[in-house]
């Protein structure tokens, strides 16, 4: 890259980050309180941490019959936090429920029932909690909430949401770096990768909600970037140590980040001379396996429902996960759902998106087959694997939720841009611009006809 190109590239990056900041702020402004999926539960967790309650060391054991004196969701919190007694658990949930009532939660979320006089989260969703979640996100999100300790609850919610905005911007920056790493430092294609990540509305919307997915996505994107660099430039002690730390941080954030382990392991295999350094790579793989094992043990111990606890449960998850229904749900919730996944985009739009995805994957596959150099093939393979593992995790868990694919959003963007590679340069440029125009228009439709309409116009009675 010439100095002029470098300057233009930096200028484009700064411009895109400014656009992404404004875009993220628009979603931060439009999202009504508690309209992020599971947001009341995530915020309850953040609140306990921000108010200095010690995680771990609560009740030794929760027996089903304890529900005679406390609701299940109170017990789940008391099991996790050392200094939370029934009064604190109740008061915290009631404060949040009161804010949910003030902000018309029950008129927007169609599955939540119609009774807004409830006094515990159990009456919204029985036995649901985030108390089992790994701690990293909550420790970080608690900081801005702690700073605004005396402010109204909704202000503290916005403070926690600001972390999501920051995570969104970091992801866009990482996407840019990933684009450069994947496409031979070409700023044009790097711009397209970062733009797709910044403007895909279901992803941008996460800039305005409290959820540990946002930090998990940062970790997996960082692992993908480092993995691409390792694939291109080879391993070094520093890269491997950083990779291990990022993978561990991902596991400490959310189970969905477990895909980072597979991406990191594949990068070590694909690294130049990777096959020749078999012993060393095996050792590294063992270390990664160890980190993963510790993560799984931790998740099991914290009653994480993402981990199946019986063969029957695993079978039940697989039955759904391997059905066509799961893939359709995954497509629909990835394209766009509103009000806690209760309202979908129109049918024609979902079909068009399915066709687009199939075309993109086919294009990426053609690119892998026709790529002249092994490096290009490896890079597309790495991005494809990151996405495939993320999809597989979703289906193995027995859910079809698009937001659980977000840790692989950068990988998906790389694949879409790679799918344009077989076209000639001019056609590729035009296709890129058409993609940008289509996404800008879809984003506007999503924002006004989707988010605004569903959150503020169509209310249940």
């Amino acid at each position: 890259m010439s100095p002029d190109d470098g300057k233009r590239s930096e200028h484009a990056l700064r411009g895109l980050l400014l656009a992404a900041l404004l875009h993220g702020l628009a979603y931060l402004a439009v999202m009504a309180p508690w309209m992020g999926e599971d947001e009341p539960w995530h915020f309850e967790h953040v609140l306990h941490v921000a108010e200095g309650r010690g995680a771990y060391g609560g009740l030794d054991e929760v027996r089903p019959e304890d529900q005679l004196w406390a609701s299940m969701t109170h017990l789940q919190v008391m099991r996790r936090f050392r200094d939370v007694d029934l009064h604190v658990a109740r008061t915290t949930q009631r404060t949040i429920l009161e804010s949910m009532r003030r902000n018309a939660f029950w008129r927007r979320v169609d599955w939540a029932g119609r009774d807004d006089s409830v006094q515990s989260f159990d009456r919204v969703e029985y036995a649901f909690t985030t108390a089992h979640q790994p701690p990293l996100y909550y420790l970080v999100a608690a900081l801005p909430v702690w700073v605004f300790a005396d402010a109204a609850l909704e202000v503290r919610l916005v403070a926690a949401r600001c972390l999501s905005l920051l995570a969104y911007l970091v992801t866009v920056w990482l996407a840019w770096r990933i684009g450069l790493a994947a496409f031979e430092d070409d700023p044009g294609r790097a711009f397209l990768v970062a733009f797709l990540v910044a403007w895909f509305p279901m992803h941008a919307r996460m800039a305005g909600v409290v959820n540990n997915d946002v930090l998990a996505r940062v970790m997996t994107s960082a692992v993908l970037l480092l993995s691409l660099l390792i694939t291109r430039r080879g391993t070094s002690v520093k890269r491997i140590v950083v990779l291990g730390v990022l993978v561990a941080l991902g596991l400490l954030t959310k189970t969905t980040a477990v895909s980072a382990v597979a991406v990191a392991a594949l990068a070590l295999l694909l690294a130049p001379g990777g096959h020749g350094k078999l012993r060393r790579n095996l050792l590294i793989a063992a270390v990664l396996g160890g980190i993963l094992g510790l993560g799984v043990l931790f998740w099991l111990d914290s009653h994480n429902p993402a981990i199946p606890h019986s063969v029957k449960n695993l079978k039940m998850r697989l039955e759904y996960g391997l059905s066509l229904r799961a893939l359709v749900d995954l497509r629909d919730t990835f394209l766009g759902t509103f009000n806690w996944e209760t309202r979908l985009q129109p049918g024609w739009m979902r079909i068009a998106f399915g066709v687009f995805l199939v075309t993109a994957f086919a294009g990426a596959l053609v690119n892998v087959v026709r790529a002249r150099d092994a490096l290009r093939r490896s890079i597309v393979l790495l991005a494809g694997s990151a996405l495939a593992v993320q999809v597989a995790l979703n289906l193995l868990r027995g859910v079809g939720k698009g937001r659980y694919l977000m840790p692989a959003i950068c990988a998906l963007a790389v694949l879409v841009v790679a799918a344009l590679e077989p076209l000639g340069e001019r056609a590729r440029h035009r296709a890129g611009l058409a993609l940008c125009a289509a996404l800008v228009l879809y984003d506007l439709h999503f924002l006004w006809l989707g988010v605004v309409r569903n959150q503020y116009l169509v209310w249940g009675s």
Partner: protein, 336 residues
């Protein structure tokens, strides 16, 4: 600079177009959105219409949608009569429409009628009944309970014989305020005899559940309601049914299909409640929605009221600026 101004003009135009599109879309004024739809009200009997009383919020009422399902996979889809009355089930008929659903459903079915002017604030009742001469239609509407559904046993695959009476079910209540139990029936001739649900805790009779309606029921849930039990969470209960001799409860090998219901919930005052025959219920509603003549300006005013002027302006300005920066960047790239 010219490029940026041009981008701004395009972005602002796109935002305004999106807002105009939003304002042009129709939206129901009253709507029961609670999902999933779990509780069919049962087939429509002549002389026992299923309906909803509500206070109209539209100046001019133009249509009412109801969720309908055609029971029985073999039978042709049957027509349904929708009757709009003043005040309640005994009020004068204001409008009447016969409609044949396009699908077996469950799906929203629209009853378009001649506009009803000066409707705002009026108490109205919308009723459903069989359209033809038959005493019974295979079409069913859906009930939305105002409280929270607790445990449920899915609609079963068999009709339970008389030898299983009193159809005893033992269950643990997951929530407090147990207030009703819904039991699935293929057929229940309510006028033919006593219909009662006795709820026991251990050997102690704690509540007696009644239907509160005297209309026959087929292919739907009978709701046995009682005074809520505040301390019901995690307590074990048993219910036994007293039913007329020819009652046909639906169930599985496990027993009768049923759902527990907790609390009774507050809803908008415009929703007066559901009707079934002569009975009126204030703890449930028909799954329905109303449409009126509403201008784009009125919809925008509603948006401003709910979202706040500042929020909407902020979102519009930020989205426009974001697209302006983006389009400026893209147009610059194209030039080079």
């Amino acid at each position: 600079m010219r490029r940026a101004l041009g981008s701004f003009a395009v972005s602002a135009g796109l935002t305004l177009a999106a807002v105009a599109w939003l304002a042009a879309t129709t939206a129901p004024t009253l709507e029961i959105r609670a999902q999933p739809w779990l509780m069919p009200a049962g087939k429509l009997f002549r002389g026992h219409p299923v309906g909803q009383v509500f206070e109209c919020t539209d100046e001019t009422l133009t249509a009412i949608d109801v969720v309908l399902v055609q029971q029985g996979q073999e039978d042709p889809i049957e027509s349904v009569r929708g009757t709009l009355r003043a005040r309640g089930p005994e009020g004068e008929v204001l409008r009447e429409v016969v409609k044949t659903p396009e699908t077996r459903g469950p799906a929203w079915v629209r009853f378009d009628f001649e506009d009803l002017p000066d409707a705002a604030g009026r108490r109205l009742c919308f009723e459903l009944s069989p359209a033809g001469e038959a005493a019974l239609s295979n079409v069913s509407a859906w009930i939305s309970w105002r409280g929270k559904l607790g445990q449920s046993r899915a609609w079963g695959d068999r009709i339970l014989g008389r030898e299983l009476a009193p159809y005893e079910v033992t269950f643990r209540s997951y929530h407090e305020d147990l207030s009703a139990l819904a039991v699935a029936f293929d057929g229940l001739d309510v006028p033919a005899g006593e219909c009662r649900l006795d709820l026991f805790r251990g050997d102690e009779l704690v509540r007696v559940g009644r239907l509160g309606a005297s209309s026959p029921l087929a292919g739907g849930y009978a709701l046995f309601t009682f005074e809520p039990i505040p301390e019901s969470r995690w307590r074990q209960y048993t219910f036994r049914l007293t039913l007329p001799a020819d009652a046909r409860p639906v169930g599985t090998a496990e027993g009768v299909s049923c759902m527990s219901i907790h609390g009774s919930g507050d809803v908008r005052p415009e929703l007066v409640g559901m009707t079934h025959g002569a009975a009126r219920f204030h703890d449930r509603d028909l799954v329905f929605r109303t449409f009126g003549e509403q201008s784009a300006a009125a919809r925008l005013a509603l948006l401003v009221e709910r979202a706040g002027r500042v929020r909407l302006l902020l979102v519009g300005v930020l989205a426009t600026l974001a697209n302006t920066v983006l389009l400026t960047l893209l147009s610059g790239r194209r030039k080079r």
